[in-house]
Subunit: 362 residues, 2 copies
DNA sequence: CTGAAAGCGCTTACAG
DNA sequence: CTGAAAGCGCTTACAG
């Protein structure tokens, strides 16, 4: 009933009649061993049911064969799929994955990074929840911990990143709606933090000078694409059609969407800037019993083709989410293995998934 | 540019002018220290930027403050949410979580368990992919590793489990459809493995003797509930309405649903036994342009209220998925802390989420 | 309350 | 190719 004592390499060595050093070499895949001795040691290990203790190995080698992940929220389908990509790569390379959630809270993120550091991960993949205040990330990297950012890239941080072309894909999506004849296109997006100035300032300012998108969060970058498309088509932007939800909450998005659709300025089409916003819009449409696309055209950022199951079908922008994860993991493992080229910002293309459902304005 | 050397407790001790033992006591939260010394050590630690090395601590204490999770597929919303529950509890108790995927493959599951064992997790939470052939789990537990099963419980395994009342909730759901007047109710479920005998045998057999549900997979248990409801209502079961998809694939479910809905025996209502099957059915309904509930009533097992956004709304069975995860984690942590009562099979209730959409048969 | 010593289970130079 | 010794960074008895 009591847990049987674990077998150590010392016991295997004794059983095989060799030193622990030799047993280690025969079992651990390092150093040289004669075939004869190796076989004897392996037989002894099998006989005793020896399992290596990676904790001890980590202590001496200084490497844990583990990567840490700080996701915003694993219960969000985007991160779930990203994690799948990470996990697939990690498994194939014999690495473990430690998962934490930040909930977009800086405090949580710091705690998570702290935990991962104490557990001595060999590197980490993170969704920085604040692209400005990333002092702890800076010191992390200064401390020599390989780090890959995902979905966002903190300003001025010398770390790799894997993101999607937010601005370009949003531009394409909105251009598609404009081309179908829509002139009043709503946008529902998170758009929480802005370094300074109001939304109106932001819109006015970008009409003249191109903003550096590096400093912006994905939702702001997607808004930029929305503005780009309007400028290209020479259609004026109406700020009351731009709706800031303020958080990644489908409930909040639903409320904001209802307000937009019930306002006196009801758009003829709506663009949602991420899967959560899309979720909220769908609820609002169901609440208000609006027919798509007869009464309203919809173009969703739809990470996982959820919306594809909706009746009627809607047009969507599809991100290569699994690829984001696998690419980040591959990059990180390369860094861990000693790849020392300068940090790269990898931007993946999103795909506009045309269906039969963007109609002309009613 | 080179990674600055890590600070160890030895250096902190030197800086504070005490022994490493004392420094450890002041920093590690064990043993006694005078306030004066503790303060001096903490000051030294802060000054040098000391971060404890949990790997070293683990080696000596034999505990890693980490739990391992073997999920079938983190990209499945069910597991993503379960993992959220696990992660929330783990974080609040200072534990890390190592995640692995088995993809319902026994080989993968074994590798995953092996990895977790080598990393010396303090316990693990697992979705056994085979409720019969669980020899490796048996030896795991014999080895003294606290283990909690989730979603399924392997036959005759002396380990805790957290599952939902599959049979009861399916019975209630199907009874609801029967009460609305439906007599031809299709069921779409995974129903892959069966110990022995055909589906027909299974149905015939349960008409007389109650099967022990412990030995069954969730999808079979839900089929049992389907059969229960029919027996209670004295409505004969038609086996051609029972569709075995054979895997947790929404694509396969879609094909099977199309076949069911295009067959000469088209049902007036369909019950889907899990989120993936529900997904597939929705696609089939869109493919065939079937109107719900005018042409077909639908009752879905809908873990995450995905279906709730569908137009029109459908009735669903909602599982307490986050709770499954948090409960499993709490149970596991209690075991790790030394709780030694006999293993418990915890069965959570699923909630029938009535909407306005189950109509009478057309 | 504090320190010297031993030890957790491995790997790593260093001799041979 | 193999072994004796030292050491990774902590914690744990054991004295004092």
């Amino acid at each position: 009933m009591s847990p049987p004592p674990r077998i150590t390499i010392t016991q295997v060595a004794a059983e095989a009649g060799v030193s622990t050093a030799t047993a280690g070499r025969a079992l651990g895949g390092y150093g040289y061993t004669s075939n004869e001795v190796a076989a004897r040691v392996q037989a002894a290990a099998r006989k005793l049911g020896y399992k290596p203790n990676m904790v001890a190995r980590s202590l001496v080698t200084g490497r844990s064969q583990t990567i840490g992940v700080v996701a915003a929220d694993i219960d969000n389908a985007f991160y779930a799929r990203v994690l799948r990509g990470i996990g697939d790569v990690a498994r194939s390379r014999g690495f473990g994955v430690i998962l934490t959630n930040s909930d977009e809270k800086l405090e949580r993120e710091k705690e998570a990074v702290q935990l991962l550091l104490e557990k001595r991960v060999d590197g980490l993949i993170i969704t920085p929840c604040d692209v400005q205040g990333s002092e702890h990330l800076r010191s992390l990297i200064a401390g020599g911990c390989p780090t890959v950012q995902i979905d966002r890239a903190a300003y001025n941080l010398a770390a790799d990143s894997v993101t999607v072309d937010n601005r370009g894909s949003a531009r394409d999506a909105v251009a598609y709606l404009l081309k179908a004849g829509h002139k009043r296109i709503g946008i529902i997006a998170e758009l929480e933090q802005l370094e300074s100035g109001s939304l109106e300032d932001f819109v006015a300012q970008t009409a003249f000078s191109p903003v550096t998108p590096q400093t912006l969060y994905p939702s702001w970058q997607r808004l930029l694409g929305y503005l780009d498309a309007h400028r290209d088509a020479q259609i004026p932007v109406q700020t009351q059609l731009i709706r800031r939800v303020g958080s990644y909450s489908s409930e909040a998005a639903r409320n904001e969407a209802v307000r937009l659709l019930e306002s006196g300025h009801r758009p003829t089409a709506v663009f949602t800037a991420d899967g959560t916003m899309s979720h909220g819009l769908m609820q609002a449409i169901a609440d208000l019993k609006i027919k798509v696309p007869e009464h309203l055209s919809v173009l969703c950022f739809d990470d996982l083709d959820w919306m594809a199951f909706m009746q009627p079908a809607i047009t969507s922008v599809h991100q290569p989410v699994h690829r984001i994860g696998s690419m980040a993991a591959e990059l990180l493992l390369a860094r861990i293995a000693g790849e020392t080229s300068v940090p790269k910002h990898n931007v993946l293309e999103a795909r506009l998934n045309i269906r039969d459902s963007v109609g002309p304005p009613p």
